[in-house]
Symmetry: C2
Subunit: 339 residues, 2 copies
């Protein structure tokens, strides 16, 4: 069969290295250089079928005996993944600058999972000083690592984008994660991680018996999409689209009766912001009443393992799926519930 194939077809049928095909890894490195000014050796990039899968690989790489730290508040899914893999994890509280280094020091955690460029759900952008403190924490022990989830840095709207932790890390302690779920579609299951040199070598020594989980033709297609500039064009277009949407939403809110009941936080990062609403209702009741009328918002408190009370009456406004013609009505509904 192979004899009659052309080079392109042969390429499609040749097993990819465990970390992904070279062309895609080169394209990703090129994108990171152009878009984020990051210098990355493509050999350190590992491509996989979604971030969740890469976490599973990371647990196998770092060890089932490590304790994993998760930001509180944060993604529930992370805790579930660690739980289902039978590994220990703990929650680390956040302050205004992000995860608390003091609390991290006190914990038994050796691997800290953080999202410095845009924390979900608070929207906090971790200042550079805290990033260095975290690197300091990681450098104190051989087994300590930081997993930097940079999942929606592409959508940051105003203000300077800070360098990634990977970029300022000279000690080989940062594992960088990113995904195409957010920028392309959640139904495109391609993510990647960038391993420190030492872990990359360990990966190829111990885990490269695994086949890459993304099919070749999908990898080649994405590589070409990035190489030919479509990916950057797409991101810019998306960002402009969401930027316009956010501006319209904020304007509509500030011109509505709702404005006297609310304070807005962290509106510059990503596709959601935080809105504090003056209300006597419980957060869950507020959301329930809103949902009854078709407005789907989530209380910040839902994402805390151990709340402090400060998160009360703060809601996550994700506007990526909100239709412009429905904005006024949605705001009126929230106002009717709040007043």
């Amino acid at each position: 069969v192979r004899e009659v194939l052309n080079d392109r077809q042969k390429e499609l049928m040749t097993n990819a290295p465990s970390g992904g095909i070279a062309q895609l890894r080169n394209a990703i490195a090129g994108h990171l250089k152009a878009f984020r000014n990051m210098e990355v050796d493509p050999a350190r990039i590992i491509v996989g079928a979604g971030t969740e899968y890469l976490y599973s690989l990371l647990i196998q790489l770092l060890g089932f005996d490590q304790v994993y730290a998760i930001e509180d508040p944060g993604y529930h899914k992370l805790a579930k993944i660690y739980e289902k893999h039978n590994v220990k994890y703990c929650y680390i509280p956040m302050d205004a600058s992000g995860v608390s280094v003091k609390a991290l020091e006190k914990s038994r955690a050796s691997v800290a999972h953080i999202s410095p460029s845009h924390h979900f759900p608070t929207g906090i952008v971790m200042p550079i000083s805290r990033r260095y403190e975290l690197l300091g924490w990681a450098s104190k022990s051989e087994e300590r690592y930081i997993i930097e989830d940079d999942y929606d840095s592409e959508f940051r709207m105003n203000g300077k984008i800070l360098p990634s932790m990977l970029d300022i890390d000279l000690s080989g302690k940062v594992i960088y994660m990113n995904t195409f779920h957010k920028t392309l579609s959640s139904t495109v299951r391609i993510s990647y991680m960038i391993l420190p040199q030492k872990l990359m070598e360990k990966f190829y020594r111990e885990l490269s018996f695994y086949s890459c989980t993304v099919s070749n033709f999908e990898q080649y297609t994405l590589a070409k999409f990035i190489e030919d500039g479509y990916f950057e064009k797409h991101i810019n277009r998306m960002r402009n689209y969401y930027h316009g949407k956010r501006d319209l939403l904020l304007e509509t809110i500030y011109h509505s009766k709702l404005k006297d009941y609310i304070t807005i936080y962290e509106e510059d990062a990503g596709l959601h912001f935080i809105m504090e609403i003056k209300t006597e209702l419980s957060d869950e009741m507020f959301c329930k009443l809103a949902l009854k009328q078709g407005v789907n918002i989530a209380p910040l408190s839902r994402f805390y393992a151990q709340g402090t009370g400060q998160e009360a009456h703060k809601f996550i406004i994700n506007y990526s799926a909100l239709k412009e013609e429905r904005m006024e009505e949605a705001i009126r509904i929230l106002y009717e519930i709040a007043r």
Copy 2:
């Protein structure tokens, strides 16, 4: 954005259920009915990015505290996967009918991984009596399960194909696994498993927070490929192609001087057969000398954790990549080494 999409595009951007899109699962169920006469509820099919990934899901589903039994000889990769997931496994010796039920009973294993339709590397097809014995073993305890790997049943050449264990299992003890790596290309990372009703419910209760690891467009493409009959046509074409190749290879061997030095086993199942060669050389030395001249064969002994000696001087002849015009030369090389 979504407003201007047509239905097909919306479908492509709508998150798949954790087990895969319905259209693909229906197509797979239809294929299994037509090709293997299996009656499968599509709801019990779980699609994932490769068999290795599905094993990882299964460990999370069945538990990290179970002991997994692996056939000896068998795939090295399985042991590696279990090892890397920090779970216990043990090897169960094979007799002429497949894995030994007596040895399985004696072991602490609760989950037995077997490939009854075509064992790798021996090529053994497990007789129906042994299949029932194994089901008997599994039925004795709540936590016991059989993982039936049916990875290349599509390529069986002569003789009646036996029903799958899933098909004769009335106790909900068989987890069926199959993949498109073998039938399409190893670079198409799509596999599926069929869970017993109870495990399927557990999967959706505990693990459906995971996104399906195969991208939507790949799932829809494969679904259409199967639905429109191309998959079955492809399998038939492949089978004929390999059938012809095998016949030519056997004929060439039996007309060569090598014929006095060899015995051939299990030539009807799958894409390889076993050739016993009379030689004074060690198996590894024999393979090394062959490889030096460009003939890549593997000794059976390489796939044993604990050999019995009976496997000595038996070699795996995988002819799927062998070019027809090279056959005579390859046989001459083996003859020169053997004589």
